[in-house]
């Protein structure tokens, strides 16, 4: 029989609905703090992008464009499987939800695999600051600055995705054991919010790093 201790109403709440609303609202507030964390980096990137437009377009032309586009498709598809998992668990079809969570983990891992392949290709092309960076054009220091932003922002995003994969796996086990079901699935909903937020950040990273120089490759 499934463990139902987590269904217990904590003393500070009047109803289970209020308890659930507090948990979901808390997750949204956490996401807003994450938005501020990435937001500061987006603001800094925008300032330097406006300061050195030619150099940043030159840096962007070094991106592995189609790998970035493929990764966008993969992450969007992982959001689909995450939403479907949430939907089926809420319909009391926990096993179907567990399988979809597993697919979500695999898609997240595929994203990271492609991302680190990109990093390796940049390293091979001497486009990794502090590790033998080479640029011969007129804007060499500014192009290097572009790559600093690239590694910091996509690296921070990858770290969040890695944590997300851990959280989804943490949800996979109780979902497969049916401890998360139609009656109680708040942790899964909160994990889903986090996963979708990672997706939101990526679509902007793809837009600012990969698109501006794609036409001059």
């Amino acid at each position: 029989m499934a463990d139902t201790s987590h269904l217990e109403l904590r003393e500070q709440f009047s109803t289970p609905e209020q308890q659930r609303e507090s948990a979901i609202s808390g997750m949204w507030i956490f996401i807003v703090t994450e938005l501020m964390l990435f937001g500061g980096l987006f603001v800094a990137f925008t300032v330097y992008r406006l300061r050195y437009p030619a150099a940043f377009t030159r840096g962007s032309s070094e991106m592995e464009y189609w790998m970035g586009a493929l990764n966008t498709g993969i992450l969007i598809s992982s959001s689909l499987t995450m939403s479907l998992a949430e939907y089926f668990v809420a319909q009391n079809k926990s096993m179907r939800g567990a399988i979809l969570l597993l697919v979500t983990i695999l898609l997240g891992a595929a994203f990271l695999g492609i991302k680190f392949t990109e990093y390796y290709l940049h390293f091979h092309d001497h486009k990794m600051p502090a590790f033998g960076f080479e640029e011969t054009g007129p804007f060499a220091p500014q192009v290097q600055l572009f790559f600093v932003f690239y590694y910091v922002m996509t690296g921070l995003h990858s770290l969040h995705l890695l944590i997300g994969i851990g959280l989804v796996f943490f949800m996979f086990v109780p979902t497969a054991l049916r401890s998360l079901n139609a009656e109680y699935h708040t942790p899964l909903d909160n994990t889903s919010l986090y996963w979708h937020f990672i997706d939101v950040i990526w679509v902007f990273l793809f837009a600012i790093f990969y698109i501006p120089g794609a036409h001059i490759r």
């Binding site: 609905e17 209020q18 659930r20 609303e21 979901i24 609202s25 949204w28 507030i29 996401i31 807003v32 938005l35 501020m36 937001g39 500061g40 987006f42 603001v43 925008t46 300032v47 992008r49 406006l50 300061r51 437009p53 464009y65 586009a69 966008t72 498709g73 969007i76 598809s77 959001s79 689909l80 995450m82 939403s83 479907l84 949430e86 939907y87 809420a90 889903s192 919010l193 979708h196 937020f197 997706d199 939101v200 679509v203 902007f204 793809f206 837009a207 600012i208 990969y210 698109i211 501006p212 794609a214 036409h215 001059i216």
Partner: protein, 99 residues
């Protein structure tokens, strides 16, 4: 708070929309639009982010409190972006005192 999970149709349509917009931004990136390339890409990304937040993160049909929190986050981010850029762009517009 009532359960407000989106329907299968909503989830599927959102996914197709997001993939379509990814294809659009990927293809537009190959066309030289000058300074408009990153601008168009960020606008498309903002539409994608809105779709994810409204339909997959339940901001549209969830409780009003969630929309207030989300809108507050976006507002604070825009304050940070706009005020920083206002400072950066307008530097040099005014002569120093005494000149």
């Amino acid at each position: 708070m009532t359960e407000q999970h989106p329907s299968l149709m909503t989830i599927a349509l959102t996914w197709f929309g997001l993939l379509g917009l990814t294809l659009l931004t990927s293809l537009l990136g190959l066309v030289n639009l000058g300074a408009m390339n990153p601008t168009v890409a960020v606008i498309i990304a903002a539409v994608q982010a809105s779709l994810i937040a409204l339909f997959l993160m339940h901001a549209l049909k969830g409780p009003a409190l969630i929309r207030v929190i989300a809108a507050g986050g976006v507002l604070w981010f825009l304050i940070m972006m706009v005020l920083t850029l206002t400072d950066f762009i307008t530097r040099g517009w005014l002569l120093p005192f005494g000149k």
